[in-house]
Amino acid sequence: MIAPIVVFAIGNPSRGDDAIGPVLAERLEAEALPGIEVVVDFQLQIEHALDLEGRRLAVFVDAAVDAAPPYELRRVRPRRDRSHSSHALSPAAVLETYERCTGRAPPQAWVLAVRGDHFELGSGLSAAARANVEAAWSRLETLGRPSAAPSPGAR
């Protein structure tokens, strides 16, 4: 049985605030909310398009240097991606890859962009990032509620 909601938590747990995604994923997995599958990875890649199959909702959780603290919840739609020199895809490009490979529309998708500022190898979450994680968690955990669908004004 495919869970109707997939949460992609992106980031390297050993690189300071880049751990925001994995930290939130760990809490989400501990809650074992029904109907939610959590996918954790360093970065998004083309095969993640396959994880969209059969979902009602997709949420991409990631550290963001351009988000207003504590976080921004953004609707994301399939879009041609310009990060051609990168080994990583954007959430929009993952959706687009799914659309093009399957010929079907991807599920509704949102990005939970949690503000991060420090990304040094071997450092932990900064104090500011920890506070941002707490704020983001209060939004993320509502996903488990019946018919949950994020809205940007719900911070």
Binding site: Q43, I46, A63, S83, S85, H87, G103, G122
Partner: protein
Amino acid sequence: MTESNPLETDRTPGLKRVVIETLTRVEGHGKVTLLLDEDGHVRQARLHIVEFRGFEKFVQGRPYWEVPVMVQRLCGICPVSHHLAASKAMDQVIGAKALTATAEKVRRLMHYGQILQSHALHFFHLSSPDLLFGFDSDVARRNIVGIAAAHPELARRGVLLRKFGQEIIRVTAGKRIHGTGSVPGGVNRSVPLAERKALRAESGRMIEWCRDAVQLVRRLFEQNLAEYRDFGSFPSHSLCMVRGDGAMDLYDGGLRARLADGSTLFDHADYSTYWKHILEDVKPWSYMKFPFLLALGAEDGWYRVGPLTRVTGCDFIPSPLAEQERREFLAFDDGSAARATLGFHWARMIEMLHAAEVIEALLEDEDVSGDDLMARGERQRRGVGVIEAPRGTLIHHYRVDERDQVVRANLVVSTTHNNEPMNRAIRSVARRYLDGRTLTEGLLNHIEVAVRAFDPCLSCATHALGKMPLAVELRDADGALLHSLRSGRA
């Protein structure tokens, strides 16, 4: 160490610097600096890539058995390569001179799964857009989405090949990412029969798709021979690992260095003492290390690694379909593809085919499901692990004290080996396409195509949303901004 290349320290009045700064979605980023003379000719090219120097400190003080798992946090692209190179180093530390048959075959299966999925990503996601749409095409088309729009079946195959490689990694490493399957002295799991059968059912289709990919690159060479043959090309020494009988072996073997004229500098060298053959130079302008062949010196001893050097450097590939393709590759146009920088792409697809063949053979091998997993021996203070990672030779070197703590670590990654060759490729391309006055999207495209042939990994650092993928600045000798160019948001 040695005197720097005069091109790298040129302070001639009137020289201008062109700075091409790539801020990809990953925190680790590349920046290209072009040094021009007053006539607008490119005198120098430098590729700056943020490297994980901090890692060597990060691992110090940790118990050695944690290292194979920790090192996976270096890179989101090739964590398995670091996992296995560190494991091989720690095999030496615990004195495990020979692994059990099951342990070695499970590790090989994991490694060739990594090779397949990494090469599939590079070809279908990163390089085929350049090749299929042309180097001057709209950047918005030159990505996986553009490929999917124009070539939906190709895009689908790319995704499914990646997925197949990831599944191989999952069943051998225990998890899709951050696996723990390989440990000092062996592995902690073998592959259940049911998983082997399920993957074996798909392997034939994967081999066929890999064959098609090789043919696709060949057709691209045939159709664009004049451009591909010379694009960013230059003579180069090379380094790779080969099996005892000279066969391609991406997991284990001895080091072989070939000179640019095709002669052999050293062969079957024991990688446990790699420093007898390779030293690392430093440059005042870069944090990256510059390895060189000791016998040739820092100035002339630079070399390249990766698929092209492996396919041309081995005596044969020990799987029939890939070996046939290797022979045709070497013979093509009197060997011009095998000398070309863009030949990396063709060689990469031959390796992907080889990986698929090896995977199929290992999935048929009962040893992969065996239960004799570990070997031990006499404890050592030093361990060196070398593996041919997707991008080239990867060296992990550790010293471990009597309290089992790592006290020193040295890593030489593929992108580091290829430092100077990438600079040469950029300079070659820039000399041909830069007009000396204005930065153009076309120039950036061509430089990216040259760099991408080497598949440098910029992902060893972190990543975060909101980074700009490309920023370009043209500055004069005094640092004044003459022209800037920046591409759209990722």
